[in-house]
Amino acid sequence: MDALTLELLNGASLFAILAIVALGLGIVFGLMGVINLAHGEFVMLGAYVAYVVHTVGLNHWLSVPLAAVVLFVLGVVIEVGLIRRIHRQPELTILATFGLSVCLRQVAELVFSKDFRSVPNPVPGATEAFGVLFPTYRYLLIAIAAVVVAATLLAFTRSRFGLVVRAIVADRDLAESAGIRTGMTNLCAFGVGAATAGIAGALVAPLGAVEPQAGLAYLPGAFLVVIVGGYNRLWGVAAGALTVAAVQTGVIHFYDAVWAQIASLALAVLVLQFRRPTPAGAVA
């Protein structure tokens, strides 16, 4: 019973991490049709924001909103300087964001060096609940990630902004003719996508290494979630994260971590086999 509770909590924390990391990728891909290979680097930069906040002696939790602001600004700059000019050509966005990811890694290396950095856990230790001890930080991580993911998804689906977004996704030219400023919406979508990646980076920073290459490890997981969940519905990010987390945790529990990775990749292949093909950017 205790073992099951622990695995459920492990699964929940993995779900939270996957969902918050994949959220921005899902937004940018789903709404703009842009395949952002620099998404992992946005997460990495968010982690460096947490590292800087730690080195100047401020509270770790401050880094969460700060990373969101810093990455939002960076996202806006990149959208205006790069993405805006090419977002209708997916193959160009792949090349451009790949180049961007290399540049961002290199800049991080020049500013912070190649050394591994770390951010200490602001709430070390474990909390006893449901009859088991589970790390306190992970409870908070689950809560914050859930709030951020839910708020973002609600904003994109239930608000007036969400209505505009869906209009653009349904037919960009028609939306433009109807007077909707699609450029501004793209700007917001890319900025918000980057901001959520920044939040993800700040949240995962105390759980591992902060280094220029850190983003590379997050990108495949984020893509897996988007593929499994489907990019034609934003809620798919949550569904995808839940499925991948369940498969990962279950397979590690019964077999091992190597098979868990194989199982998640196989899951993506299976999902793609049985999904009706929809063009990128076709959000319902």
Partner: protein, 467 residues
């Protein structure tokens, strides 16, 4: 935005290309500035692995420069050696009579190393040590009276790039020998080129063992050396009997664990769990639960880089930190330990062939010279850079003994060769590996490494007969 016309989309393409190129240029320019500060300007042909690079911006700022040995160091005004480095800087040649200054066509020493990508972290100490290799071998009279020059090539932690870098060293730089510190995957990709060109290739990184080739020597630690003496010692020290083996899923951890199992069982212990995680694993919550449930007394983690940091920082909160279950690690080095922080690492034991804390007159002098030259916060000299330095000295000694740089003659002179270096007493074995000291360091409360045990002249359990 309207439907893009042909010309507009072309102009956008150009804009993107220009934007990326600009960013790359900025990165490269910054990199040059930064790398130029500690090192004197290069005056020999640098190994410009332009063709070998996956992307120009990543490689551009690499310090692939080699330096003349008599270059004064403008950054170090207080060192007395600065004015006449070539006469006073050889730590193992303290006698006053000066060897004849080397002259003639230089002997070219190629160094294939990882200076970018995941293992790029280990690059800077190696490129620093390349300066000492030139200085020290030249100060001792060079090789057969000829000066040595070093040529660095980066494999970007990628076997395909490593193969191209090896090609560059052999075909363009015409090196006489290649010293390597990089992954086994790069070694496998680059070895055939050295064999075809009949260039001596000394692989100096710690690795899983089993390499055997007529042009190769392998001077890094192999698992039998790191583990055979240390596992029984660890069990005696801690009283622990049961072990959990946790490694990344590739050949080196698997081979290490295969041997560890034998040594543990021979010492009367038991392996109660063996788990592998993919490289790049970020979340260890489920693995932590498996370890907690195993009842192990000791953990042997063979995890690399960020995976090690993620596991150890998360393990503390799951109640399986070093305090609860002591660690014996075989790769945790200073960068990784530093990032974990002393609160996590204090008490861990690490088994390696070199730590900068090795207490010998030769090593103390070498390490203080290193930090004087490259700054107190320089990337620390460690087992990889130390083994590259030793490999260069072994090559120089063998080539001097052979009186030539001919590969077969030097290889013959290598066998049985023994030296005393900052690492300790080392000797090439009949299996073309290295008999070397093994040290166990215990991490202190302030994060420093204290050598608590050393084993001298540990023989590798390897066989090799390339003929």
């Amino acid at each position: 935005m309207r439907t893009p016309s042909d010309s507009r989309s072309r102009s956008r393409l150009w804009f993107v290309a220009a934007f990326v190129a600009l960013l790359a240029l900025i990165a490269a320019a910054c990199g040059d500035d930064e790398e130029a500060t500690p090192a004197a300007p290069s005056d020999t042909a640098a190994t410009d692995t332009g063709a070998a690079e996956p992307s120009d911006s990543e490689e551009a700022p690499e310090p692939e420069t080699t330096e003349a040995p008599d270059e004064p160091e403008p950054d170090e005004p207080e060192t007395t050696e600065a004015s006449e480095p070539e006469t006073t800087e050889a730590p193992d040649e303290p006698e006053p009579q000066e060897p004849a200054e080397p002259s003639g066509e230089p002997v070219r020493i190629g160094i294939l190393f990882s200076n970018s990508g995941p293992a790029g972290l280990f690059g800077p100490p190696t490129s620093n040590i390349a300066e000492f290799i030139e200085e020290d071998i030249n100060a001792a009279g060079g090789i057969n009276g000829r000066p040595v020059e070093t040529y660095l090539a980066d494999d970007a932690t990628d076997p395909a790039v490593g193969r191209q870098a090896m090609e560059q060293l052999i075909d363009s730089d015409n090196v006489d020998v290649v010293l390597g510190t990089h992954s086994s995957a790069t070694r496998q990709a680059a070895k055939p080129l050295a064999e075809d060109a009949d260039v001596l290739y000394i692989y100096a990184a710690l690795y899983e063992g089993g390499e055997c080739s007529s042009v190769m020597f392998n001077t890094g630690e192999v698992p039998s050396q790191q583990l055979a003496p240390v596992i029984p010692w660890m069990m005696e020290q801690t009283g622990g009997q049961t072990w959990f083996l946790l490694g990344n899923d590739y050949v080196w951890p698997r081979r290490s664990f295969e041997l560890a199992r034998q040594y543990i069982e021979a010492a009367g212990g038991e392996v109660v769990g063996e788990e592998y995680v993919p490289l790049g694993t970020q979340d260890f919550s489920s693995v932590a639960q498996i370890i907690a449930g195993s009842g192990a007394d000791l953990i042997f983690p063979a995890l690399v880089g960020g995976d090690a940091i993620a596991f150890e920082t998360q393990a503390v909160d799951f109640g399986i930190g070093q305090d609860a279950i002591p660690r014996l690690a075989n790769i945790y080095e200073e960068n990784v330990l530093g990032a974990m922080g002393p609160a996590v690492t204090a008490g861990m034991r690490v088994t390696l062939g070199y730590f900068k804390e090795v207490d010998s007159a030769l090593n103390n002098e070498f390490v203080s010279r290193y930090f004087e030259r490259f700054g107190a916060d320089a990337p620390p000299h460690m087992t990889f850079s130390s083994h590259i330095y030793d490999a260069a000295l072994l090559y120089a000694a063998a080539a001097n003994a052979a009186g030539t740089t001919d590969t077969a003659a030097v290889a013959a002179a290598m066998e049985g060769l023994s030296l005393t270096t900052p690492t300790g007493d080392i000797a090439i074995t009949g299996s073309r590996h290295l008999s070397q000291p093994i040290y166990v360091a215990e991490i202190q409360a302030d994060g420093s490494q204290l050598i608590v045990q050393s084993f001298s002249s540990v023989e590798p359990d390897e066989t090799c007969d390339p003929a």
